[in-house]
Amino acid sequence: MSTDARIVPAASLIPADAPFPKAAKVALGMPQLRKNLAHATGTIRAKRANVAGELDDWERLRDTASAIKADVQHRLPELAIEFERNATAAGATVHWARDAQEANEIAARIVREAGADEVVKVKSMATQEIELNEHFEAHGLKAFETDLAELIVQLAEDKPSHILVPAIHYNRTQIRDIFTQSMGDAPSGLTDEPAALAEAARLHLRRRFLSAKVAVSGANFAVAETGSLVVVESEGNGRMCLTMPETLISIVGLEKLLPRFGDLEVFMQLLPRSSTGERMNPYTSVWTGSREGDGPRDVHVILLDNGRTGVLADEVGRQALSCIRCSACLNVCPVYERTGGHAYGHVYPGPIGAILAPQLEPGRHDDLPYASSLCGACYEVCPVKINIPEVLVHLRQQGPHEAGEKAAMGAAKAVMARPRLWRAALKAARFGSMPWRRKGFLRRLPWPGSRWTVSRDLPVPPKEDFRDWWKERQR
């Protein structure tokens, strides 16, 4: 049953800096990857639809969540200050970081001051975004991921391919093989039963949890009114990290702020149902500063900008900051389902990544807004109603264009803007395609038409068009 085939990290096969179409082509050529993705996204789509359907006020919740997030964006400076004030009053130390480098340096300094050289980590997109693990590694510190999927990815020396389930591109047998090969204390005869794999992860991490001095987390929400942070999770690794160590460092993107504690009644209905397709996730932790005799005594919060204020400046694009990282848009996206996350070349893949990455790092991901057929499935499921297609089109309109394409588009516009030229062009096309009229379609076109005919025929114009018919019947 056990295979000795070494698991090759998927991310190593997909060129990280290649433009999306090229990276996607590589991913499309990996049948196991496509099978795993189709299976996993299909499972979660059905679960999400079921539990969202249980709430008769789902659409009203989305409207409220969307408006709360827009309100947060409008009032970001005052809410950030309010959060800082309340968290500080409750015993937390609040830091501000302009960029990844600054956040990493603050975090590393706190770890050293705590007399530690390693940390346990709760799954956090913000720390992936700033490459905290890599920074720690380079400075003699070690970060241990404790979320099961993150652990799988870390053991495989791979990169996450999904916001919620970073190891979504592996199936159970591959995960068993990764554990067997790379987890020093993997039980012998480990099967690929998910329960057995979860048990192996429990045993592997338990000692570390109980002895860790410092933990690093992100946060799903930061409540301005109370100065509280919220982490939503399933396994209990989050609770372990947030409760057992003496020092806790939470790195929180500025957009995570919520005005009021009561707003959780909206978001905690939407988030679990949209992400894991559960009515509620197994564990949610809420903490406010530090508390005598309960949990970490030394509590730090690093408020992270790292490009967010740039996104905030774009009136249309700023709605991307409403994202609560549920990943529903990835799971329904027909493009993501076929390519997986690595092809996007950014920690935020899928539809949300296609609008967030190019805004967080201007000029670096101009190919991503085109990685969508604009089918709109993402917008339909987004719990905070981010109009992803609208932002995709907006970013396409802001971004640079290739000269040849620009010329072609300009020419098409020039013709279409003049009815006489347009009619002449239609006539010319009918005339030019006469040799193929009997066959009815074209099978092979030169580039760039070959990009179409690679998989589909192109019909040729008919002998008589609508205009002729209309003129005839007007007589």
Binding site: D57, I68, L148, R172, S228, S234, E235, R239, P282, T284
Partner: protein, 196 residues
């Protein structure tokens, strides 16, 4: 340090120049279930759905604790809940190693939400600090009838907002393998709910 703070605030203010008024969020969603819904029955249904066991009445506590020899309890756990043959150890600053040696934990809770099968702890009466409900592998939690509400929005006002909270919906679980839910990872793998 403070340079970063001032600069980020300035960036935000610049970004928002001319952004206009903040919208006022509509609040037209539900804050309660329809009258007449049996919230206890719903809570049981949702707990069982997420693989928690449900027991009824104080007399069922020994059965809920079955198999546990040493049971940690918060120091203020009502004496009448300490039923059965287990040794009850009150938490008065137990070490992590001590906690790791416990077979189970018995606590009360702050609220329970029927619609999602969620038990809420806020370290208030009969709940203890967070670590005691985390390290032992078996959690028995007592829910009094008046602590059960239908909807999340009804439960939030019952919590001590700035106390450390843990909202629990079923035993520890993961969906990380093929997005299928499997129970039992780092948190307690058995969750038993005793309804009074």
């Amino acid at each position: 340090m403070s340079g970063a703070r001032e600069e980020i605030l300035a960036r935000m203010r610049r970004a928002l120049e001319g952004a206009g008024e903040a919208p006022v969020p509509p609040r037209e969603y539900r804050r309660a279930l329809d009258a007449g819904v049996d919230i206890t029955a719903m809570l049981i249904d949702r707990l069982v759905d997420y693989k928690a066991n449900v027991h009824h009445g104080l007399a069922s506590i020994p059965a809920a604790l079955a198999g546990a020899k040493r049971v940690v309890v918060p120091a203020d756990l009502p004496a009448e809940w300490r039923l059965g043959g287990a040794e009850f150890v009150a938490d008065e600053g137990l070490s992590t190693a001590d906690l790791d040696g416990m077979d189970a934990v018995l606590t009360g809770c702050a609220a329970a939400v029927a619609v999602s099968g969620t038990i809420m702890l806020d370290t208030g009466a009969a709940q203890g600090r967070r670590a005691i409900t985390l390290v032992p592998d078996h959690h028995v939690v007592v829910v009094r009838a008046e602590q059960i509400v239908g909807h999340l929005a009804e439960a939030l006002p019952m919590l001590d907002r700035t106390a450390p909270q843990t909202w629990i919906s079923g035993p520890s679980a993961t969906s990380d393998i093929e997005l299928q839910r499997v129970e039992g990872v780092h948190g307690p793998r058995r969750l038993k709910v005793v309804l009074l």
